[in-house]
Every structure is written in structure tokens, then in C-alpha cells.
Subunit: 211 residues, 2 copies
Amino acid sequence: MATAARRGRPRAEGTDDRILGAACDLLLARGYDGYSIDEVAQRAGVAKTTLYRRWPTKDHLIVAVVARIQDEVPVRDTGDIRRDLTAYLEAVAAGLTRMSRVGRPAGPDDRSAGLVAEIVAAAARRPDVGRAVRAVFARRNALPLALLESAQARGDLGPGARPDVIFDQLAGALYYRLLVTGEPVGGDYPARLVDQVLAGARAPGPEGKPS
Amino acid sequence: MATAARRGRPRAEGTDDRILGAACDLLLARGYDGYSIDEVAQRAGVAKTTLYRRWPTKDHLIVAVVARIQDEVPVRDTGDIRRDLTAYLEAVAAGLTRMSRVGRPAGPDDRSAGLVAEIVAAAARRPDVGRAVRAVFARRNALPLALLESAQARGDLGPGARPDVIFDQLAGALYYRLLVTGEPVGGDYPARLVDQVLAGARAPGPEGKPS
């Protein structure tokens, strides 16, 4: 959240944190349509103009809240790529499930992507929101990408493996299930996904058909 | 589009085709917000009530149009899983790129998911649209899944490979790039993706670290 310096305008320490904390509370409690930017300003104890100057629309504010929630997911490099990727994807899956249910009662048959779909749609509709979403994901995804690159550097991934393509497969599978097919992303799915991605699909040379 | 029989109501042959053709033309020419259901009925030469009885909202109609466009993508089993998957994903990527640009001028820096994101959002907002979208994708995805199962049956995929998880990795990577990171899905990306998915990431046992 240390973005104040970059904007070249002095800002009371903690103002961004207070605003984002208030926005996060309201978003998680009431969902996308359940609150106004004015309520966020009031709850955070800041002038509306302060908030609007920083995040011109509710969509911009929600993207910042998403970045904050993503930052709560730890990315640890213990040297065991299978374990580290599985832990990371389990946390991402839990976060996606939580975000998909924001502001709605969570029925057992509920397969809506909820807020995650709203953010995707906002990013597609407004170029500036799209840029903000892509910047948030680029910053965040650098961490699991570094995990994969580090595994490759110590020889745990093949020299021809492409960390960026591997990451697309992992994150992509979770988002595809949530946004398109409605299949669950929790339980043992992240572990099965990581196993499949690391092992590959092709039959092994000697026992199977030639690859 | 031979769905009329299943609805148990006699319908003039080709009515659905005419409606979906008109809807497809209008959607591709003008985008999600650029036309009305009434215009579709007029162009197709059917009564509005006929159209509304079949597809109660524009979102339902668009989902049916998407199914029709998906059906244009061939899924061929030539016995070469690498080639068949690459051809399939190249076609899906081309279709996604086309749908993302519907109704908008396609600038070189345009990274919006456009209509694809609108459909995802409509599916998340309305349970009945969500069910329709999931049904369309389940029906369609059965074809590439069969391709993977057939490859596994003839020994071209490992016995422990999971066709459903492999499919999530492939389709997921494309949708993730389109909807979230805004990275391009065309060019040689589908081929690189298929190669990575089939080969796996783990370093080979003898040369690399023990897996």
C-alpha cells in the first residue's frame, strides 16, 4: 500500500490502509452492489474527495481491495516445488471461493463466480480498470513465477519447461472452473492439478509409445 | 440446433436456425448492447413471442449463439494427439479473440475480453443463464475430452494422466490469459501450451534430480 510516495502528494500515513480496510469490510459484508463509495469514506473517516482522488470509481477501489486480499496469501519457497505450488494454489482456490460468495448466501448448489466475474467484466468494459487489474495480477503473479524459476534453477523442473506457461496452466485451471464450468476448485483439486502439471501427460518413453 | 424435438412442441423447421443466424449476425456486427431481441425477431421473420418463448432474455439468446459458434470449431481425431490438440486450441483461441472484439473496433493495444467477459458475468449473475452456459460448455468440452481419452486408450498418454485435469490446463490457460492477464492467446501460444502440457514440467529422472 506504500503507493503515496509514487503519487508525489503527501498523504497522512495509514489513510490508504484505513480506506482499503473499510472498503474490504463493506465489500465482504454486502457484496458488489451493497455499498457506496461515500459509505467507505465515512467508515474510514476521510473526505470523499481524498478517496475519489485515489480511486475514481468503485471498480478501481475493488481492484485495490482484491490486491490487498491477494497479499494475504503467502507464497513460500521451501525448496519442495510440489508442496509449495500446492499450498499456493490451495490458498488461491480458497480466496476465489470466498470472493465468489461475497455478499450472497452460500448455498450448497451455488456455482456462481460472483464478484470474481464482476471484476473480470469491469476490466473488460473499462480500459483503465483493465489496466489496473492486469497490473495487480502481474505484480502478484511474479511471486509464483519466481517459485517456478527457482525450482528450475536448482534442476527440479526440466530445462525446457516454461515457467510462464506452467503458471497459466495452474492459475488458468482454477479460474476456468470458477468462471466457466462451475466445477469446484477446492478439496484435493489443487493437489491433483499440480501433480498433473508437474508430471505431464505424455506416456513415458520406454514403457509407453514413443514420445 | 435440432433441439425442437426435445421441447415437445412442434416448430417450423429452421425457425431456430433463422433466429440464431439473425442473432449471430446482429451480435457480431453491433456487439452485446448494440441490438434488441425485437430486431432479431424482425430480421428472422418470426413473431417476438416465438423468440421469447425459446430464449427468455438476450443473455439466453447469446448463450445459444455462442454454442452455435463453438459448433463451427472442428474437433478432429487423427491419432496424433499433439497435432489434434494444437489444432483445436488454435481454433478456440481464434474464436475467443473474435468474440472478445465483437462490436468494438479492434485496436492493436486492445486487451479487453469484451463479450467473453460479459457472458461470464451474465452466468454469474443469473442462475438460469449460469446453467445454460455450463450446459453449453459441458456438451462442447465432451469432444476434446473424448480426444484425450482416446489418446490415453491407445497409450499415447500416461495411464495416470487425468484427461479432465489436462483439459482444464489447456482451456484454462487460454481463458485466464484472455479474461485476467490480457496476454495474447494466438500465434504459437496454443502449440507451446500443448507441448508443455504433454511433456510436463518435472525434470526427467535420470538426467535431472530424482522426481
